[in-house]
């Protein structure tokens, strides 16, 4: 059982699957923090029926905001050395989290990012793949990093990152913001191949491809107004 790592899971209307996901994560990790982002379904009661820690936004804000809330809540526990962000829809594998943590434990990196394109991914739609590739190009251009995946929800980082990162983009643009922070604060980073299990459920929950335009707009505007 792992006691020095907090697994942060933002939850928004995942009542159908969240309990199963939590159960499998709780097998390996003692500190699982579920941030309910103002769900209107039974997510809250499902989470509270497990031993996961439960933090609830009073209203829906967005995944980025939920992550920041989870990080700030986890930070208050002095035993926590490492922080993992994990998606609620069951598309990530615990196995990959352990690989990322072992990288982090070497002390060579501040943050380890999961990448879909270094590993084998099952059933990514071709159109989605094209948009993701384009997003990576854009993201690398904006952040100055060299990554193979721009918007992967699986990340592991140490306390230095948890103390200095500040996610202000409440919605999906937070992923780009994290990458910009990596470049700006000069975190030592690396990527680890992870597999994503795109189920019918996780695909239905995934963000719409057209949302890339919204994300791009916010990223550019934030750069201009800095």
């Amino acid at each position: 059982m792992n006691r020095d790592t907090a697994v942060i899971i933002p939850v928004y209307n995942e009542g159908r699957v969240i309990k199963g996901v939590l159960k499998s994560v709780l097998k390996d990790f003692a500190f699982v923090i579920c941030v309910d982002d103002g769900s209107s379904d039974n997510s809250a009661s499902e989470v509270q029926s497990t031993s996961a820690l439960f933090v609830r936004h009073p209203f829906n804000i967005g995944q980025g905001a939920a992550l920041q809330t989870g990080i700030e809540f986890a930070k208050e526990n002095a035993d926590i050395k490492y922080f993992v962000t994990f998606d609620a829809d069951g598309q990530h594998r615990i196995k990959d989290v352990h690989t990322m943590l072992s990288k982090l434990r070497t002390g060579k990196y501040d943050i380890v990012l999961g990448s879909r394109f270094l590993g084998v991914t099952s059933n990514v739609k071709r159109s989605k793949r094209a948009v993701l590739k384009l997003a990576i190009k854009f993201s690398n251009l904006m952040s100055g990093l060299d990554l193979s995946d721009a918007h992967n929800g699986l990340r592991a980082f140490n306390r230095h990152v948890a103390d200095t990162v500040n996610i202000t983009m409440p919605d999906y643009a937070h992923a780009s913001e994290i990458l910009e922070t990596i470049a700006e604060k000069k975190y030592r980073y690396t990527e680890v191949p992870v597999a994503i299990e795109y189920s019918k459920y996780s695909l239905s929950k995934g963000q719409n491809t057209i949302n890339a335009i919204n994300i791009g707009f916010d990223v550019v505007l934030r750069r201009l107004t800095k």
């Binding site: 009073p58 700030e72 208050e76």
Partner: protein, 117 residues
């Protein structure tokens, strides 16, 4: 000749938009916006009383008619307003998010305390 002047007018418009975004929180930034508003109002009054004046001015900067010049000014003013408004709303959103987060964390802490006792 006209093209050079048009280039300057466009450059000035972009400069105005950029300063409006950049200095939105500084005193100077806020003051310049108020001055801009007054200038726009005065220009409008003057333009109504002396319609030929705007025409002369338009010709001087390489724009066809006075009405066009006023339209361009209005467009620049609108863009400044729209961007400012958007940014202002984002700032407010951040404040609300911070508040909500504080509440969420306090609530969670309280609940865990109750569990322990």
């Amino acid at each position: 000749m006209t093209i050079i002047i048009q280039f300057f007018v466009i450059a000035i418009a972009l400069f105005v938009i950029k300063t409006a975004i950049g200095g939105r929180t500084s005193h100077a930034g806020r003051a310049s916006k108020k001055i801009g508003l007054v200038v726009l109002a005065v220009t409008m009054v003057v333009a109504v009383i002396f319609p030929n004046l705007t025409n002369d001015l338009a010709h001087a900067v390489g724009v066809g008619r006075g009405a066009d010049l006023l339209l361009y000014l209005t467009v620049v003013a609108f863009i400044v307003y729209a961007i400012n408004n958007y940014l202002h709303m984002q700032d407010q959103r951040q404040t609300v998010i911070k508040l909500a987060r504080k509440i969420a964390i306090l609530e969670a802490k309280n609940k865990n305390k109750l569990k322990d006792t």
